[in-house]
Amino acid sequence: MVSDVHKKIKAAFEAFDYETNNTVDVREIGTIIYSLGCFPSQTDLHDFIAEVEEDHTGYIHLDKFLPAMAKILLEHKYPPIPEDILLQAFEVLDKEKKGYLEPEELANYMTQEGELFTQEEMDEMLTALADHEKDLIYYKDILSQLTIDPEL
């Protein structure tokens, strides 16, 4: 069980190890952790990076990453968001209970509240989530579409 976890972590790590020397750029760590099924917040991420980074070189070595990540996975430290909570979150933003969100509405929240989105992230999200003809975000529909597949 533990070795399976290790292998999973290694595979995810190696996808970003461009020079095949067991290091990845620190900026890719978030992607790696997310893809392994964890939902850390930005602060959690920062703390994690501080733990495993190689003295501010900007790189993280597999030797440090593997045990730390394995611990997180085995402890289920950053559990995923259940779909119904996510739905509620959308409903909170949809103040008038229309059943959909306008792109500007969503953009306002995403770029000004919480763990702010960059403009790029916002654009990509809108392209991905918005219904193309009406240019509205029907959040109930997309939730089922976009909930992560279990493996890959």
Binding site: T23, V92, G114, E115
Partner: protein, 760 residues
């Protein structure tokens, strides 16, 4: 009203009960006094489907904090409203955070998939094929013997006719002809190539350009036979002219289906505007790469009669292409990159046309690796081959002394054995391929003093067709090795993020160069920017080494529809690059990342499944070793292990497993399921599995060979011809196929039983 208890910052649990009562009390108490406030509270509760007591608690806490009258008897309407807004905001923020976090994770998952897909494509792209050497030599032999026998069809050519020296009307004619899917007659192709060759001979190795005469110089990257991308660039940016100079940075051919059209256009414009059109050589401007990656096939298919002649001219023209361009003495443009030994001054003095192919193995290193015996035998074979009359047919080849034939087969096996000693079966080695110089892992530990960063396969093409082999200057001096290395480094290297310079083991040629190498070279020659291509980038371009290196790639949708954009650079007097992106696609709607990843993934997985099928028997025997009890399944790790060792592709097999194989109820992998859903197109149930696989593996090459044999272009070949061809083929491969199996095969393909085979 009664004075309620005081609300404090910290809320010990006993107090909580009181506060709960307290808030209900406030609520009741204020229902009449602050109806508006309470209504808004109600509304909020219902909207949020929050349990009202919780909401009330939050609000009253907030309200108490806001309350000016600290003793908290009565909370005013404004304070309640303010509290409501505040709580609302907090909840909204929490919701936003949830959504952001979820979305980021979703994107990360997608990014991971995209990366895996990319890895699949890249691994397959440069993975060697078994016995590619023997196949190429066989193929070349076929070309030698069969192409001359094709007759000319009736002359009813309606395509463009060129007059030399070229004029704008000629290039326009070419453009419109190619847009209409017409092709250029062989005669004009040859003429154009001949003129290009003459022109290129006068050019230096490194071209120096200046922006002072023109507005902007446009720099394009790899095109790889994508005519649509080239036409799109011309459409967006303008046709080449005195006002619109271009630099094309190599890799015009291979992989795409319209390499000939692309390169004809580029050469035509080169002839038309020699001062405003500049072409750098890429690693695919190399006749041996072309054999493997599709250009040779395209030429032979489109020009059956003159194909060989055309290819020979291309070989010369490619080796005459300049290797670098420098703009204003400040911007260096090369196809691949640099190494720590790149010396631009030295580079400008060498005779570049002598380096016909990156895969020419310097003789000296050959001897050093101590296979003198086989190289001597090889030399002997070259002379025997060379003396063979060119009109000999397959019969005479069969009639060759059995001794000679045996020796040839033995040599080939010996060669491949040397290069892949660890594995006994030579089948799945990704190392013996000549065409993609891939460093076999077993050779790397061997020291090679003169060229420490190069360890190559020992196989050398010994075919008469490629007469340049015999014209290679005999004993190679260190000078020659050096020259060859300089060019190979320029055409094959890739940048890396960490410092230093290491051999490029992935490609088997050139180096990985770090930012310090770039810095050093730029400083040394007073340059400020290196522009290169050679690697596909998702956005069509990418900066690295702190902006000192730019990768520019101009073939959009390179791996698959939606996989990547193409881009080009415009450089003005200020030498500040401006990037222009585009994507050729069937639909105009912008694809989301999800769709693009899905499309690319599907394509990559299909390619991967094909590879699995191709190596079926080796994989099966590997699986069976772990499955002694014949249960039909192995553990996931064992499954991954077998795949890794047979296919030699560095991929995350466990993560890909769900797409490739089924799990049994106990979590083990049913390995047979890897090979489902694969239809090779030729039902060969009676034939041995090995034959089916071999056929499948070489189907594209077989198609070409078929086309050559099929002289009257009827689409049919006789069974006898097929038999002979197949016998030769298997002799070359060293695969033992008995005649009966071939006959069965032929018969099974011949569906209408009329004695001839049609190739579908």
């Amino acid at each position: 009203m009664k004075a309620p208890a005081r609300a404090t910052r910290r809320i010990p649990s006993q107090t909580k009960k009181r506060i709960r009562a307290h808030s209900t009390f406030i609520y009741r108490a204020h229902k009449e006094v602050n109806p508006a406030g309470m209504r808004s509270l109600d509304l909020m509760a219902s909207r949020l489907s929050f349990p009202k007591p919780v909401l009330l608690r939050l609000v009253s806490l907030e309200a108490s904090r806001l309350s000016k009258t600290n003793r908290l008897k009565v909370v005013t309407l404004q304070e309640i409203n303010a509290a409501v807004t505040l709580v609302q905001r907090r909840i909204a923020m929490k919701a936003a955070v949830l959504i952001q976090r979820w979305y980021r994770r979703y994107i990360a998952r997608l990014e991971m998939r995209r990366r895996y897909t990319w890895n699949i494509f890249q691994s397959i792209e440069y993975a060697g094929e078994q016995d590619q050497l023997q196949l190429s030599s066989f193929f070349s032999f076929m070309l030698n013997n069969f192409t001359q026998l094709n007759g000319n069809g009736p002359e009813s050519y309606t395509g463009p006719r060129l007059t030399f020296p070229l004029s704008v009307s000629d290039t326009n004619a070419l453009l419109s002809a190619f847009k209409e899917q017409q092709s250029l007659h062989a005669r004009y192709v040859l003429q154009l190539l001949y003129e290009t060759k003459k022109l290129l001979k006068q050019m230096p190795n490194i071209i120096h350009l200046s922006t002072s005469y023109t507005k902007d110089i446009t720099i394009c990257g790899d095109l790889h036979g994508r005519l649509d991308d080239l036409l799109l660039i011309f459409y967006k940016n303008g046709l080449p002219s005195a006002e619109t100079p271009y630099v094309f940075n190599g890799d015009f051919v291979d992989r795409g289906k319209k390499s000939i059209e692309v390169v004809m256009l580029l050469f035509a414009y080169l002839l038309l505007y020699p001062d405003n059109m500049h072409l750098n050589r890429g690693n695919h401007e190399d006749h041996i790469m072309n054999l493997r990656y599709g250009f040779t096939k395209e030429v032979m298919q489109k020009y059956k009669t003159h194909g060989r002649e055309i290819l020979q001219l291309f070989q010369d023209v490619f080796s005459l292409l300049p290797v670098a361009t420098v703009i204003d003495g400040k911007v260096l443009i090369v196809h691949g990159g640099i190494s720590d030994q790149t010396d631009l001054d030295f580079l400008s003095t060498i005779e570049r046309h002598k380096v016909k192919s990156a895969l020419r193995f310097p003789r000296r290193t050959l001897e050093q690796l101590d296979i003198g015996q086989s190289s001597r035998q090889m030399k002997r074979m070259i002379s025997t081959d060379g003396s063979r009359p060119s009109s000999s047919r397959s019969h005479s080849k069969n009639q060759r002394t059995p001794n000679q034939r045996k020796r040839r087969c033995r040599i080939s096996r010996q060669d491949s054995a040397v290069s892949i000693s660890p594995s006994s079966s030579s089948s799945s080695s990704s190392s013996s391929s000549l065409c993609s110089p891939r460093t076999p892992s077993c050779l790397t530990p061997r020291p090679c003093p003169s060229s420490p960063s190069m360890t190559y396969t020992i196989n050398v093409l010994h075919v008469p067709f490629l007469d340049s082999l015999t014209s290679v200057p005999p004993p190679s001096s260190p000078q020659h090795d050096q020259e060859w290395k300089q060019i190979v480094d320029i055409l094959w290297s890739d940048p890396k993020t960490q410092e230093g310079c290491s051999p490029n083991t992935f490609r088997g040629g050139g180096c990985y160069f770090g930012p310090d190498i770039t810095q050093r070279l730029l400083l040394q020659h007073g340059l400020q920017l290196l522009i290169r291509s050679h690697e596909c980038k998702q956005e069509g371009y990418e900066l690295c080494h702190g902006g000192q290196v730019i990768t520019i790639f101009s073939a959009s949708n390179y791996y698959e529809e939606g996989s990547n954009r193409g881009a080009y650079i415009k450089l003005g007097r200020d030498l500040v690059p401006r990037f222009y992106q585009y994507q050729v696609s069937r639909t105009t709607r912008k694809l989301t990342l999800t769709q693009r990843v899905r499309a690319a993934e599907g394509s990559a997985l299909r390619a991967l499944k094909e590879k699995l099928f191709t190596h079926r028997s080796e994989l099966m025997s590997g699986f069976q070793q772990y499955d002694q009890n014949n249960t039909g399944s192995v553990s996931v790790s064992e499954w991954a292990q077998v795949l890794e060792s047979v296919l030699r592709l560095d991929l995350p097999w466990r993560t890909l497993r769900p797409h490739l194989a089924r799990l049994a109820a106990d979590g083990s992998v049913e390995y047979q399921s890897c090979f489902e859903n694969m239809e090779p197109g030729i039902p060969l149930s009676q034939v041995t599995p090995n034959l089916a696989e071999t056929l499948f593996r070489y189907r594209t090459d077989i198609e070409i060979i078929f086309n050559i044999i099929d002289k009257d272009h009827s689409g049919l070949i006789s069974i006898e011809e097929f038999r002979q061809t197949w016998r030769l083929f298997s002799a070359h491969l060293g695969v033992d196929i008995d005649d009966r199996a071939i006959d069965d095969l032929a018969r099974s393909i011949d569906f209408n039983k009329d004695g001839s085979i049609d190739f579908t």
